[in-house]
Amino acid sequence: MTIDISDIPALARGCAVLGTGGGGDVRTGSLAAIRAIQTYGPVPLIELADLPADALVVPLSGIGAPTVSHEMIHGEDEPKRIAEEIERIFGRPPAAVMSSEIGGANGVAPVAWAAQLGLPLLDADGMGRAFPEVQMVSMYVAGLPADLVIMSDIVGNIVTIRPIDGLWSERLARAVCVAAGSHALMADYVLTAAQARGAVIEGTVTRALAVGRATEGTAEPLRALAERLGAARLITGKLTDVERRTTGGFVRGTATIEGTGDDRGRTLTLELQNENLVALENGRPRAMVPDLITVVDTETAAAVQTEGLRYGQRVTVLAWPCDPLWRTPKGLETAGPRAFGYDLEYVPIEELVKGELRG
């Protein structure tokens, strides 16, 4: 299968849904992907099984401040420099590009990067959703050593970091990013196909495409989306309050949704950071990170980002299970509720919403 220009709108919509409110705006990435396909042709989408064991997979992502990424857009040569650096280090060129984060902007832009490199895109990513920190990836959870980060900035600087662990990787990558003007392209965990097995989340590009297509040409986009995701509908209602506060470098917030129609009388509160992290009703959790929680427009089923939440919006909150990798002890330690500062014991969505999951 290949990804062509006509696939990009659906992929973008799907990535926005998997972004659980974060992951950045998909529009610039979509334009870059369309442009790259026009120039270099459609991008083959391959599975891990298609690659020889020693083939190199490059997980790529943009890193930086959203305000900057909307102004100082990526240059076309950044992926090429990273690929050349990989070839210099490993003695062979990369065989495939992978999205580090399927949710949001970093889910769509890798199509552009793969097209620019003339490489296939691997049908997999490192999160299955969006997360805010560099070490919150499946490769880290799977125990692969975080010992190589390659960054390329817009003017052509290449920085190769050999960190001793994931936390240093995050710290140093962030410092380089700031020096580079708060925006860079990053390859984190260059891995062989053999290493990738069990350390990446497979099928997520196909899934994003299917999720994006679910709402096309249907009279009931919300139902179609919930069924495609296998999601529970936590509430349908009206946003009655959005409160934001900045603490410890993170924007934290709470959104309150009051039920309408069949849900009249119910109130759901969402705890937000960059992403939607915990959904509470009457003080009891109904869904929590790393399970996925997305707010969608009730009418169109289009995903609403956390910064786009406004009083009066008619929304539905959907929640569905994360990849099993995130439910392992290391997965929960990395990206469970406590990793985000919530004093909650993780309970899977299946138990919290017994019998309500669709699909």
Partner: protein, 543 residues
């Protein structure tokens, strides 16, 4: 202003062109409504002549303020657009998404004389991405045939010197008008660039509007100074409009909001402008329109233009009412300007929201006989009904029987629910502000609406948009990035001064310019703490 000075406000809307004359005490002394014509100018002249007929002392008219759709129409119809050489300063950054990537093909073909990304532009912290390559710019311009140039530098709202240098070069060496993005839009490269290119494409249209207005005034022997209304509800001189024609797009909603504030005397309110086809809801904050946070699309092109936050619902006086198997339906279609022939109250055969309102006892001032006319229309329709197969008209059984009045009653309930829902969406949880009802269809609205403290129906509400044009201030705005550390206060003072200077450039009286809006947003991931600052200054027109 001279003793006894008069001024004229004109607003070109989708259906009607409205004009008013205000005296020195801001009283409405004449008003008129004329149909908007396809060429816009004819309708404008008709409305102007209509109000002039009610004024004797033409020599006392000192100013004419015009809010018009010329520029919008030019873009929508791809007509009279100039060819633009599109220059972006930022290479090697931004090459992944070249200029005009998201434009509809036909608009791009009509506008672009060529596009290029050359070295230049700045980082978020003000450092140069690279030195400006003037040689590359000359090579590009030597190879294109353009009517104007649009220049967009990365982070130019914070660091404008590269754009200014290019402007100078183009003017001196090529003699072409230049649209510089930092004067036009805020942060967000692609959207600002789109607005700058549209602006450059509209120079010809701006000249036509100015000429048409100046000629119309001269033909009538008026010595009045002309101004154009812009999208934020403020005015600019025609000289300023010639530089920033894209700002005239979308002045209608802003004018009606400002007019509503003025006529009602309320500075914080929700405003509903009820027309023939739709109702536009907006919010007044301190007398100015609340601005939209979302990007605004013009002719299929996304811009980061500051526009009033408007919620339009498909409900107006001409909105069609139908009854069928599934109950009563209201709209979304409308008989539009044909309401004067087609609505039941006007002897027509189509049930409209106007008819529903009249049946519910809501009539405009001086229209007490509408209820009787509705009943007469219903009787006539019933008489004709026997001779003709049922179901030909949207509402078939035309009598004032129970079914008939039930249908209109249900339709009014549906219409009210639409308004209540829209008001709730705009109210952002505050219930302490009134709703000001303006526009020709203001009488359709119920007397009480949940979520607002009351419904105000000011006099002259039907021409609020033209009043808004006539009373508008001149303004200037700056959207940039400033350090958040010790130098913050000084930096913000400088931004305020720049905004005030821009207001004066647009025509404001330097002695009476005030800062009317100041917004600071902290930025993340930067080496030095910084804030994004947005400042707007406004003041009355200088004498």
């Amino acid at each position: 202003m001279a003793e006894g000075a008069l001024r004229i406000g004109i607003d070109v809307g989708g259906t009607n062109t409205d004009a008013v004359v205000l005296d020195a005490a801001d009283r409405v002394v004449a008003k008129a409504k004329r149909p908007t014509t396809p060429d816009v100018t004819e309708g404008l002249q008709a409305a102007l002549d209509a109000v002039l007929a009610d004024v004797t002392a033409w020599e006392r008219i000192t100013r004419v303020m015009l809010g018009t759709t010329h520029a919008t129409n030019a873009i929508l119809e791809r007509r009279n657009l100039g060819r633009v050489a599109v220059l972006r300063l930022g290479a090697p950054a931004t090459t992944a998404v070249p200029p005009l990537s998201d434009w509809p093909d036909d608009l791009r073909k009509a506008v672009s004389a060529g596009e290029v990304i050359v070295p230049g532009g700045h980082y978020v912290d003000g450092r140069e991405i690279g030195p400006l390559d003037l040689g590359a710019i000359r090579r590009f311009l030597d190879g294109v045939r353009a009517d104007a140039v649009a220049v967009t530098g990365v982070f130019s709202p914070a660091s404008a010197d590269h754009e200014r240098a290019v402007e100078e070069l183009v003017r001196d060496e090529y003699g072409l008008p230049v649209s510089v993005s930092h004067e036009i839009g805020s942060l967000g490269l692609l959207e600002r660039e789109n607005a700058a290119v549209l602006n450059a494409a509209l120079y010809g249209v701006a000249a036509q509007v100015t000429e048409a207005l100046v000629a119309a005034l001269a033909e009538r022997g008026l010595g009045a100074r002309p101004y154009l209304a812009q999208n934020d509800g403020t005015l600019m001189t025609v000289a300023h409009a010639a530089r920033l024609p894209v700002s005239t797009i979308g002045s209608g909603p802003a004018n009606s909001l400002r007019g509503a504030a003025f006529l009602s005397g309320v500075r914080d309110a929700i405003v509903a402008d009820v027309g023939g086809t739709s109702t536009d809801l907006g919010v007044l904050v301190g007398g100015f329109p609340r601005e939209s946070a979302a990007a605004v699309e013009i002719g299929g092109v996304l811009t980061n233009f500051r526009m009033p936050d408007i919620l339009a619902i498909a409900l107006g006086g001409g909105t069609v009412v139908r009854s069928g198997g599934t109950g009563v339906r209201v709209g979304p279609d409308s008989v539009g300007y044909r309401i004067a022939e087609e609505a039941l109250v006007f002897g027509g055969a189509t049930s409209t929201v106007t008819d529903a309102a009249v049946a519910g006892g809501r009539v405009p001032a001086n229209a007490a006989d509408w209820r009787e006319r509705l009943e007469a229309a219903a009787r006539a329709a019933r008489a004709g009904e026997a001779a003709k197969p049922a179901g030909t008209a949207p509402y078939g059984a035309g009598d004032m029987s129970e079914t008939f009045s039930d249908t209109l009653q249900s339709a009014l309930a549906v219409a009210d629910a639409m308004v209540i829902d829209a008001v709730d969406r705009m109210a952002l949880g505050r219930a302490d502000r009134p709703l000001v009802a303006v526009g020709g269809g203001a009488f359709l609205l119920p007397a009480e609406i949940p979520g607002v403290s009351g419904v105000i129906r000011p006099e002259h509400a039907e021409v609020a948009n033209a009043v808004g044009a006539a009373i508008a201030l001149a303004s200037g705005r700056v959207d940039t990035i400033s350090p958040a550390g010790e130098s913050r206060a000084k930096a913000i003072e400088r931004v305020k001064e720049e905004a005030a200077a821009r207001a004066v450039a647009a025509g404001a009286d330097p002695a009476r310019v005030e800062i009317v809006d100041l917004l600071e947003v902290p930025l993340s991931y930067l080496s030095e703490p910084a804030v994004r600052v947005h400042v707007k200054a406004a003041g009355p027109l200088s004498r």
